[in-house]
Subunit: 324 residues, 2 copies
């Protein structure tokens, strides 16, 4: 017996099944017309887009449809949070092969809904697009509202405290476990057997396939005086370097505050919030990991030294073309 | 000598080259931070997303990078226009193989910019994402503003006039020319030789690869009393059926007003605006093509008869897997 595929079901049925899984729309116009219409308090909208592609961004042996829906929502919500905004809507462009099981798509819709409910209550999928493709791709656009100034990367000032909310290196640790222990002799991804993992290892794998960025803390940080903020998607040193350059300052990081894990400096995909706050104003949920000093020879110092590794990943140079 | 590829250039250079080609941002926060921040007059934002995928949606032998950037913008702008809104920004998620020439990507960025300048002045690319993929995919989200009620599919009333702005069937005629005359013996797409086409045929092919939907007429129609509106992407009969069902009315179309071309009824991809207006209120730019009558046995009648063909295309059932 074979699972029913989207090619057998056709676009209309697939769309109907997805819509049945999503949270009810609270928009002025939700799914079903040419476009969604959303109320935007404050007269400004925050908008960002981020894509998950089968191969470079995920393996189907390691991630369920639910995981992928969740992660596609989470990484986009993090970009909205990093501006100090509150997410209000997602638009999801899903392109997939016609042999994709309908049940997989339903699972993905469940993951989208549950990530919104858990990480950003009040935000829901309000629009999208279905297309055929040889490559399963989930392109999400997130929209949000601001009730104050946007928190940009460029506002850090000497004297500020550098602070982090969320994990540093945990998702990368999970990816390392997947690559080292869940591939066959030819290097193809094989399903994860949780029974062979310690609880700590299971947490790391979960952080990779189903990240939980601290979305609500983005808006809270903005209200509590964050001078600059961004989400850490490429690793702490690389993203801190970007923030330091945009602000024309130096970020001095202390590894003691990061638990001494080398992956904490270079591991990406946790989508933690990296922010700077005036001294004595670091809000609950953030932990101090360094300080802002004047612009100097290096944008980032780690324990007083120029970092020797910076992390990061180039989608065009670094992907090995494997899917699985 | 080989063209420089995105794999050789890397993400940072590709992004820099794209940004150099886009129109300057007029947003509060444009490209370069975690998200864009856009002013939204009227406190509402209109949002839609639509994707072009290599294979089902285009062949590289028939469409240049410029054509694809233009078309990706145009089809998304049409969804915003169809709500009676004015487009203000595009977000572009571009996923592509690492052997994609950098020059192709620059050409695509030029097409995005020029479509915005020509079809929706004031709208620009304000954000996006670059990712690697085996399949070239352009997922665009368009945002717009409304200064009145959204024009939905559901507002048509018996007694209204059915009107159309833009082409009906021209893009489908162009696709027919491409499929019949620009494929090799194995069915692979081969480049178009304009010298063997009549001026009318060249116009049809241009309408397919580089459509020019009447974007500004969407906002104008809303101001002039349109009771319902949508863009025609799947063919006039099928999309009129959707509008009729949403409005619980019958749309009676007259082929004489459509020039007698059978493709006018079933051809998609022109992204014309189909709207209904109170009698005597059809604005300039729209032509009357029928009338709205009470809900009956058929949602659409063509010259008084139930239509025998309706057009439309299912991405999962109808794509033959060829790319080219």
């Amino acid at each position: 017996m074979h699972a029913r595929t989207v090619g057998q079901a056709g676009e209309t049925e697939v769309l109907r099944r997805i819509l049945a899984r999503l949270a009810p729309s609270t928009a002025e116009v939700g799914p079903g017309d040419d476009a969604a219409v959303l109320r935007v308090a404050g007269g400004r909208v925050v908008a960002s887009t981020d894509t998950l592609v089968h191969g470079p961004d995920f393996r189907l042996a390691w991630s369920s449809g639910h995981d992928l829906g969740w992660k596609a929502a989470a990484v986009n919500l993090a970009d909205i949070a990093a501006m100090g905004a509150r997410p209000i809507a997602l638009l999801v462009a899903l392109t997939m092969p016609d042999d994709t099981p309908v049940a997989f798509v339903e699972d993905l819709a469940d993951g989208l809904r549950q990530a919104c409910l858990s990480l950003a209550p009040g935000c829901a999928v309000e629009g999208g697009d279905l297309a055929a493709s040889d490559t399963l791709t989930i392109a999400v656009t997130a929209l949000g509202t601001l009730d104050g100034p946007a928190v940009r990367r460029s506002g850090a000032r000497p004297g500020d405290i550098v602070a982090l909310a969320g994990h540093a290196g945990l998702a990368a640790h999970g990816l390392q476990i997947l690559f080292e222990r869940f591939r066959d002799v030819d290097g193809h991804a094989v399903p994860v057997d949780p029974a062979v993992l310690t609880p700590a290892e299971r947490r790391a794998v979960a952080a990779q396939v189903r990240p939980e960025p601290p979305i609500a803390l983005g808006h809270a940080a903005a209200h509590q005086g964050a001078t600059a903020m961004m989400d850490v998607s490429d690793g702490l040193v690389l993203d801190a370097t970007r923030l330091a350059i945009a602000s024309r300052v130096c970020l001095e990081l202390a590894t003691a505050a990061l638990g001494g894990d080398p992956l904490a400096l270079i591991g990406g995909e946790d989508h933690a919030l990296l922010a700077t706050f005036p001294r004595d104003a670091v809000p609950a949920g953030f932990r101090a990991i360094g300080r802002v000093t004047p612009h100097g020879a290096h944008p980032v110092l780690v324990d007083g030294e120029a970092p020797t590794c910076r992390g990061g990943w180039d989608p065009y140079s670094d992907w090995d073309q494997a899917r699985g």
